[in-house]
Symmetry: C2
Subunit: 193 residues, 2 copies
Amino acid sequence: MDHNLLLAGIAKYVNLDAEEQEYLISVLHYKKIKRKQLILEEGDINNKVTFVTSGCLRSYAVDKNGTEHVLQFAPAGWWITDMRSFTTGQPARLNIDAIEDSEYIYIPKANFEELNIRIPKFEHYNRVIGQNALATYQHRQIDNVTLSAMERYANFCQLYPSLIKTLPQKQVASYIGVTPEFLSKMLNTMIVK
Amino acid sequence: MDHNLLLAGIAKYVNLDAEEQEYLISVLHYKKIKRKQLILEEGDINNKVTFVTSGCLRSYAVDKNGTEHVLQFAPAGWWITDMRSFTTGQPARLNIDAIEDSEYIYIPKANFEELNIRIPKFEHYNRVIGQNALATYQHRQIDNVTLSAMERYANFCQLYPSLIKTLPQKQVASYIGVTPEFLSKMLNTMIVK
DNA sequence: TATTTCTCTTAATCTACATTAAGTTTTCAT
DNA sequence: ATGAAAACTTAATGTAGATTAAGAGAAATA
C-alpha cells in the first residue's frame, strides 16, 4: 500500500528514523473510494485524520436551503478533517466526500495521539503544518470580507492552478462563495471587457 | 511581572517541571500599551507571538476603501498573531492594536522555536491549541457563508458573552462582517418584532 | 448508444446589506 | 468641567450577488 507520499510530506519537515517510520506505518489504514462516496457525514464523529494519496476529496457544509458550501479541497498529498469534531468529539458539521475516484490513508484518533506523544518529531510536524493551515484560514477569512467575487476567483486560480483545470466550475463557485450562475456570468461577461 | 495567566493556560494542557518553567520565563518579554496603540502594522514582519495578560487586543485588515475588518479579539488569556507573517516571514497583512489599555507578554520567534524543540511538552501544548484555533477558523468560515448577519450576531453573543458587554458595537459589526449602520438598524428593528 | 443525470449558460427579477448623509449621544483627553 | 472626537441612530438610495426558470451541452452509467 502506498504511504510514500505521506512519508515524503513528513520528510519535508522532520527526519523520522527507521523505527519511527515503522511505528507510524503500523497504524495506517488504507482505503479506496468511488466518486461521490462520503467518508464523513454531518452528525458523525470525525475520529480519524485523513491523508489523500490519489484523486481528490472535499469537505463541505450544507445550509438550511440545502446548498453546499465547500470548505476545502484535498488533492493527493493533503490532509482533510473536521477539526472541531476531531478535537472535541462533537458531531461533525462538515461532510467529506470524493470528487473523483480516490485513495486515502487514515489514522484513528487514539493512534494519532499516541504517535504525537511517542514521536516528538511527529508532533513537531503536526505543530508546523497546523500553523500553516491556521495562516491559510486567517487570510481566507480576510479575503472573504475584503475582496470581490472576481478577486477571490483570481486568487483561487493563482493558489490552486492544478485544481482549476480539473474541478467543475460549480465546485469552484461554492469554494469562493458565489452561486454557479453568478460565476458563469462573471467569467463570460469578463471576456468581453 | 505577571506570567501567571500564561503558566495557568499552559498547565491546562501539560505539566511543565520547575526547570522548564524557568526556561520559559527566561525568554518572556513584558509590555504595557495604551488604547489604540499598534503593536503590529501591515507590512511589518510579525516575528513574535503575543499573549495578552490584561485588557484586549485585536487584529484587523484594512481594505482598499480604508475600512477595517476585525479578524480576532484577544482578551486576557489569549494569543494573537499574524500567523502567515510569523511562519513564513512575509510582511504582515494584519494590524494588531489595543482596544483598551493592555498588558502583554511576547516571545521572539527564535526563542519560540527553541522552546518547542527543547520542551516537547511546550510543542504539545502548541500543537493542541493550534488544532483548537484551526477548528474555530474552519467553523467561522462555514458560518460566514451559511448564516445571515443576525444569526452571526447571535453566535457571537453566545461565544463571547463577556466581549459583547465591553466592545463598542462597531467593533462587533466589523467582526461579524457588516457595517455599523446595518448592525444598529438590525438590532433596533429586531426589538420591535 | 442511449438515456439519464450533471453542468453550464442566459436572462429577468429580487434582496440583504452597503453607501451616503446628517443628526444625536456618549466618551475621552485636557 | 469642557471641547473634541468617537460611537450610535435613522433614513434614503444604490448594488453585488442571489434566486428562479428554462434551455443546451457534456458526461456518466446502463
